[in-house]
Symmetry: C2
Subunit: 197 residues, 2 copies
DNA sequence: GCTTGAATTGAACCTATGTTCAGTTAATTG
DNA sequence: CAATTAACTGAACATAGGTTCAATTCAAGC
């Protein structure tokens, strides 16, 4: 056997990325073999190398594109003047987005240590841009006297950790709806920085 | 060469566990080889098997003993009647403890997916007990009308995620002292559940 | 329908892995 | 000091890993 009936790079490529994302999220990058990914797609391991130069790039590209998508989606939100409203918007956005792409988020969060230095720098810079967006909101609210927080940098990290934690337990069709979860997290986020709710 | 001068199981054993903890925390369980651990200790790989039946047990024992220590330390805290004070105490304790043992905490948090089912069940049960302690505080505060939170279970997970996040950035000798950090996190925790501060 | 190029196989290569074990040396005991 | 036990080596085994590549089959365009 060689080329398969119906085979097409526009089909196989995305399927490889999807399989890798799911497997990396479940078992971790280092614990997943190229042969496992290939098997999930229904292909031999060698075929993966038509779509990625190596395993490391598969991970790095996945993380980079996820963060780029995240930043793009964040930038697409309507601009709000009030820091309180902006924080509520950010919290809901963050939780909502993370709920819809749990695997990508999980990988981007857990696999930083498996990136080679060059890839790490790229991904870390994107992550920093995202965190800076939140920090800017907190800083604005603090300057306007709307938030009470001793350290905006620490509060940024604390909030992101809290909001990202949703991926640890949320499952579609559970006790709480997505909208419920977004609202509760946003409420906690606002209160945690002393915003009147 | 065979037995080394000055060799002793009471020395080598702990050194192996410490090296494994550090390496697992840095690179992840699956990415660390027995030979790397052995090299860190200054011993051949085969020697590790005098101290652990296999690699998996090394991980499982490390996680279990860490969680047992954590629960023991939690139980040793002075009992407080007021839910608000208890929450503040819990938050400070959690942050403080996590700061002092970042590697153990990191492994216990990140490597759950690399545990075999039997070990997973044990570790998960311990983790559940810890979470339940926090949930009990939130529930008590809610019942007493001191906290405003729609869902204590969700709030538990959100708070733990927020507080545990400290391990992602805190380094000894940084801009903020350990006590500062504990205070800020405790403050955010209290406010996030609507406790008067 | 034939040719060209795209998609994939399958086997191989080399390295690394977890684990075992007979043999060797240091510490300890009597 | 002899004998025993505890600690460790070094080499080996079997398997699995990432990656490469010649050979093969399918799809597309003329």
């Amino acid at each position: 056997m060689a080329r398969k009936t119906g085979s097409h790079s526009e089909i196989t490529g995305p399927r490889i990325r999807a399989a890798a994302e799911r497997l990396f999220a479940r078992h971790g990058y280092a614990a997943v073999s190229m042969r496992q990914i290939a098997a999930e797609v229904g292909v031999q391991a060698g075929a993966l190398y038509l779509y990625t130069p190596d395993k490391q790039s598969l991970l790095a590209d996945m993380m980079r594109s996820h963060l780029e998508d995240l930043l793009e989606a964040l930038a697409a939100l309507p601009a709000l003047p009030d820091p309180v409203a902006r924080l509520a918007q950010f919290a809901r956005f963050h939780v909502g987005y993370h709920i819809t792409r749990p695997d990508a988020v999980f990988v981007a969060y857990m696999e930083l240590r498996n990136l080679e230095p060059a890839h790490f720098a790229t991904v870390e810079a994107l992550r920093r841009r995202y965190e800076d967006a939140l920090e800017a909101i907190l800083q604005a609210g603090k300057s306007a006297g709307l938030f009470s927080l001793p350290d905006p940098k620490l509060a940024t990290l604390a909030l992101i950790a809290m909001l990202t934690g949703v991926t640890n337990w949320y499952r579609e069709g559970g006790r709480l709806s997505r909208s419920d979860v977004e609202a509760i997290y946003a409420d906690m986020a606002l209160k945690s920085v002393g915003a009147a709710v």
